[in-house]
Amino acid sequence: MSNKLNWSRKMTVLTLVIFAALYLLIIFFWGLFMNPGEYAVNYDNKLLMPSIGHLFGTDAMGRDMFKRCIKGLSNSIVIGLLASLFSSVVALIFGIASAVWGGVVDRFVKLAVDLCMGLPHLVLLILISYMLGKGTLGVTASVALTHWPGLTRIVRQEVLHLKSSQYVLASQKMGHSPVYIAVHHMIPHVLPAYLIGLVLLFPHAIMHEASVTFLGFGLPKEMPAIGVILSESMNYITTGKWWMAVFPGVMLLIAVILFDVIGETMKKLWNPNSGNE
């Protein structure tokens, strides 16, 4: 195995990740600082086909679909970010507590995980969102509160496995403190799984946010969001206004796939069995 070969593969992967991250960051900041006037109602330009002026066409109220898409995706990314950060912190605390303390704590965490996973995810999302009065708060809370069980199980399993592994036991016999073991043995093992889980949570969160909104239990109608745009476009798709559904859908798909690519790439790079490839 030559050194040059290793380098070139790592470079390809790195370029891919940088490109993906750049795309997402641009959408995020462009949307964040976008002037609301850019996607304002303008009845002169109702239902225009895609053109140079309006890349993705316009909708029934003459709003520019391209700008709305960017703003909508940006909103989705904010919600996804909040949700996956919150979920992953909960997962980390629950997972580690459950593995380290065991006993009652472990049983409680497992019960909570089973409870959350036993219900169909979308039903749970709708329930929580509806309970909190829909809107931004409802969607964010419901997406944040329902994405931790999977990651909790991963973290718990990793820590449990490590706790009884021979090299951790041997490390204890060498007189190393729990802090040393946590820092040198546990964290390097759990962190990659955790970060990958965090990144892979993101597309889920965005998709769920969009679907809850699409079903009408989420973000308010006036707020640009992919879910809102898609559900509105359903009313026009039968009359041949294809651009209102296709472009936002494709944008959402690209964003989700890119996050997935970043996550999967990290997985490969951090796995010691493929880390040197």
Binding site: Q166, S171, K173, P188, P272
Partner: protein, 200 residues
């Protein structure tokens, strides 16, 4: 250092039958004791208790007539059967080797560890090479008793011979005691100064 296991009894759960019942063993400094017995008779369990990984239900472990201390470097160290499980797969070999002390060049040479291996991952070394690391990393000056639980069973005959030759040399040099757990009667007779049999 004198090592004493006094009246050890052990069971894994409250309901399971006793695996060990009233076992006692004394190992003097420099002694090499072979522990042989059929599969499932509790050899490995006894090894874990001797090294302090398991607490006996009854009985105690004494080192120079003092109960074994936890949370400091233990003078009783154990080497396992599967070296690939005993090293952190995310550490390069150098870190694994230096986890409790820094072995000097002489020891590395004695153990047949090559410099080039230090920058590799565990998955890039063979079982025999890994086992050398597992042994070298705990051969700190403070190690007085080495428990070897079937440490060469999965290695080829030549590597087995090499590893035992090195271990015996080092043990003689340092007056280090060893407890050797094995199925292999011939091996036990060759390397041990005394053989103890555990029956069911």
């Amino acid at each position: 250092m004198q090592f004493k296991a006094e009246h050890i009894s052990f069971r894994y759960t409250d309901k399971s039958p006793l695996i060990l019942e009233d076992v006692s063993l004394t190992i003097e400094a420099g002694e090499r004791v072979g522990i042989v017995g059929p599969s499932g008779c509790g050899k490995s369990t006894f090894a874990k208790i001797m090294a302090g990984y398991q607490k006996p239900v009854k009985g105690q472990i004494l080192i120079d007539d003092v109960p074994m201390e936890r949370k400091v470097f233990c003078p009783v160290q154990m080497i396992y059967q599967h070296p690939e499980l005993a090293v952190n797969p995310r550490w390069k070999m150098k870190k694994t080797l230096n986890e409790c002390f820094e072995p000097d060049e002489y020891l590395l040479e004695q153990m047949g560890i090559e410099k080039a291996w230090l920058n590799r991952w565990p998955s890039e070394l063979s079982g025999g090479e890994l086992q050398r690391f597992c042994i070298a990393r705990i051969l700190a000056p403070q190690t007085k008793l080495l428990i070897c639980d079937e440490i060469t069973t999965m290695l080829d005959v030549i590597t087995q011979a090499q590893i035992w030759k090195m271990l015996l040399e080092i043990a003689d040099e340092r007056k280090m005691s060893m407890a050797i757990i094995t199925h292999n009667q011939a091996l036990a007779e060759k390397v041990c100064t005394r053989i103890v049999r555990i029956s069911d």
